[in-house]
């Protein structure tokens, strides 16, 4: 690596000095990055970890007493009178609903995003950038504003219901807002670009001569998609699914506004603990459990993917 021509002439001590200097330079250049990761990544996470093992303070915050209550609380309910514990699925259900909504959102994004990405990737190169530009336009507006806009569209007096009544398809407004459907719709809308972009990136690299070759080898359009295009776009599909699933699991603005607090998701639950419920340790514990579950499933996927011999994503 550091094969300096001077190394042949100079004694080895100067080579060592040179390498040390290089190492210091490297460290110096990396320092801002490392510092940033430490300050905004590792440190807050450590605080969350520590807080989850403490007792809640009376007015928010924590009191410094070691306790596992936060984790116990996830699965067990304490009787107010005799302080016995009984198993409860309340929070488990919220977890399951979140996972369900998240998976549904991911699948919906995939079904809409893949054809979109394929369409863009098969456009002439000059036009692709224009399409990508259009995909990124929603990012220009704050998610909160966009979610309020969705709210206006979906509510009983919103344009969807008004239009349906106008054509005579329905007599009364059908409730769309404050349903799981509305939450999913909002999540799909918010995260669709995260599905389109990675899939586009892998489809754009796809050699369409392979598609031609498989047509030549008697593959119908559907078989070409199944056997050639999807397997080769797999890294992009996986990345897109991860990028949509993880934030939609933790989403809280969208379910709060479009779900109307009826369909609570993990994100709302966590937010609640740090807000009204004033139970910071419990909020920390939920956040950590969610994180561990996501990490475990990702690791499972990666192992499975590696065994199937899929190209590493990067």
């Amino acid at each position: 690596m550091s094969d300096q021509p001077s190394a042949n002439i100079q004694p080895s001590s100067s080579v060592v000095a040179e390498e040390k200097r290089l190492r210091n330079t490297r460290l110096g250049l990396l320092a801002p990055g490392i510092l940033t990761i430490f300050c905004i990544g590792i440190m807050p996470l450590s605080i969350v970890l520590v807080y989850s093992f403490l007792e809640p303070g009376d007015f928010g915050g924590v009191s410094w007493v070691l306790s596992f209550d936060a984790y116990v609380q996830l699965l067990f309910e304490e009787d107010i009178f005799d302080e016995t514990l009984s198993f409860t699925t309340d929070y488990l259900q919220i977890f399951l609903r979140s996972v369900g909504l998240g998976l549904f959102t991911t699948i919906a994004c995939l079904l809409v995003g893949f054809p979109t990405a394929y369409f863009i990737a098969t456009q002439p190169p000059a036009r692709r950038n224009a399409w990508l530009f259009l995909i990124t336009i929603p990012f220009w507006t704050n998610l909160l504003i966009r979610t309020y806009a969705m709210l206006l569209i979906l509510r009983d007096q919103g344009i969807i219901n008004l239009a349906l009544i106008e054509i005579g398809l329905i007599d009364r407004a059908i409730p769309i807002l404050y349903t799981d459907f509305a939450v999913c719709l909002g999540l799909v809308y918010a995260y669709l670009p995260f599905m389109v972009l990675p899939i586009y990136a892998s489809l754009e690299k796809l050699d369409f001569r392979l598609v031609e070759a498989s047509y030549d080898l008697y593959a119908t359009r559907f078989k070409v998609l199944k056997r050639i295009i999807i397997p080769l776009a797999k890294p992009g599909i996986a990345a897109g699914c991860i990028l949509v699933l993880i934030p939609s699991l933790g989403a809280f603005i969208t379910p709060a506004l479009l779900g109307g607090g009826k369909s609570l998701m993990i994100g709302n639950l966590i937010e609640l603990q740090f807000g009204q419920a004033r139970n910071w340790p419990f909020g920390s514990a939920i956040a950590l459990v969610l994180m561990v579950l996501v990490m475990l499933s990702l690791m499972t996927y990666l192992r499975y993917g590696a065994r199937k011999g899929a190209p590493a994503h990067g």
């Binding site: 050699d207 001569r209 392979l210 031609e212 070759a213 498989s214 047509y215 030549d216 080898l217 008697y218 593959a219 119908t220 078989k223 056997r227 050639i228 397997p231 080769l232 011999g309 899929a310 190209p311």
Partner: protein
């Protein structure tokens, strides 16, 4: 082979391919081409890039549809059939092997798509792997193969479904010289063993001559000449064909008399003799172009009316022989090629005066 009136493997009838709206504004890639390719033939489409040879191949494969005309495969119309419904397979220029599959999976792909029973797939895969001598690499991923090996896999993949016609789109152009030579022999052997009609596209005239049963020389969307390699090389009909294939001297002369496919000509440089006459005949007495291959010329010691003469301007040595450039009194330069037969064979040097004899019956009149 019997003298056959059997149906052609591929029958191309007045087929045109125009990219764009119409002839005037679009690009004419193929211009009313008619061509019949026989069964079990190694047929080569030869021409410079942009001559329409790849377009013709893609029309046969079904990747493109002709603007006009029709293509028949063993008497059956191919019109409107997508590539996956044509019993024709292609070996692509850049192989287009599926990177997410092993060698064996690549080869079995076509058979799977045809719903071939599994037992038959595995035996066919084994068979074609043997045919291209790749049995030992069946389970490799394709990106772990060398260029030559990829080439063999591409061939095996295209041969496995036993197509009626195999299309080869400049498959050897990415290989280095030595490997290319090997694969030329290999391809010819495969064609003999399988009995499948091969249609081979190339811009390499030597490749075309060594492998083909027949060659079609193309330019600007037109087929200029179809014939076996000897006809193409020895009796080029058009100036472009003569020029494109091998080295050639083109001298000016006049037709003195005609007799069927032959004519008596007199070169401006002096020589008089018989020359081959292409179908589109030039009128008597007009000045025509006459082609003579450099290797049909030889030095002679004495001057005479049946010889050409001039002074040697340049000599180049290329290992197996010498090229002499001789300027004649008419101002025309003629090239003479001699085999290298050892030292002292030809003691000419630059500036020497030389007399040249032309082999019997080696001149050819060219149509422009």
């Amino acid at each position: 082979m019997s003298t056959q009136t059997a149906t052609a493997a591929i029958d191309i009838r007045e087929t045109s391919k125009i990219y764009g709206r119409n002839r005037e504004t679009g690009v004419v890639a193929l211009d009313q081409v008619s061509l019949a390719i026989r069964d079990n033939e190694f047929f080569t489409l030869l021409g410079p890039s942009g001559c329409g040879k790849t377009t013709l191949l893609r029309l046969i494969a079904g990747f493109e549809q002709p603007t006009h005309g029709e293509i028949l495969l063993f008497g059956e119309h191919l019109e409107g059939l997508p590539p996956y419904k044509r019993p024709v397979n292609t070996v692509f220029q850049h192989y287009a092997l599926f990177p997410h599959m092993t060698v064996a999976e690549n080869i079995s792909f076509g058979l799977e798509m045809l719903d071939t029973p599994n037992t038959q797939i595995s035996s066919t895969v084994k068979e074609v792997l043997g045919l291209v001598q790749m049995e030992h690499l069946a389970n490799r991923k394709t990106d772990q193969l060398s260029g030559g090996q990829q080439q063999r896999v591409a061939l095996a993949r295209a041969l496995a479904p036993k197509p009626k016609v195999l299309l080869l789109d400049e498959p050897l152009s990415a290989l280095d010289f030595k490997l290319r030579k090997e694969m030329q022999v290999e391809l010819k052997r495969l064609q003999n063993e399988t009995g499948i009609t091969f249609i081979f596209v190339t811009h390499d005239q030597e490749e075309a001559l060594t492998m083909s049963d027949r060659v079609a020389v193309m330019r600007d969307g037109l087929i200029l000449q179809v014939g076996n390699p000897r006809e193409i090389y020895d009796r080029p009909a058009k100036r472009f064909v003569a020029d494109f294939i091998g080295d050639i001297n083109i001298l000016k002369g006049r037709i003195l008399s005609k007799n069927g496919a032959q004519a008596t000509v007199k070169l401006n440089a002096g020589y008089q003799g018989t020359a081959g006459l292409p179908a589109e005949t030039d009128s008597l007495g007009d000045e025509v172009s006459i082609a003579i291959r450099p290797e049909q010329l030889s030095f002679v010691s004495g001057a005479g009316p049946e010889h050409l003469s001039g002074s040697i301007q340049h000599i180049s040595y290329f290992g197996s022989g010498f090229d002499y450039e001789i300027v004649m009194p008419t101002g025309e330069t003629i090239m003479l090629q001699l085999q290298n037969r050892g030292a002292g064979d030809h003691a000419y040097t630059v500036g020497d005066r030389a007399h040249i004899a032309i082999s019997e019956n080696s001149m050819q009149i060219l149509a422009d």
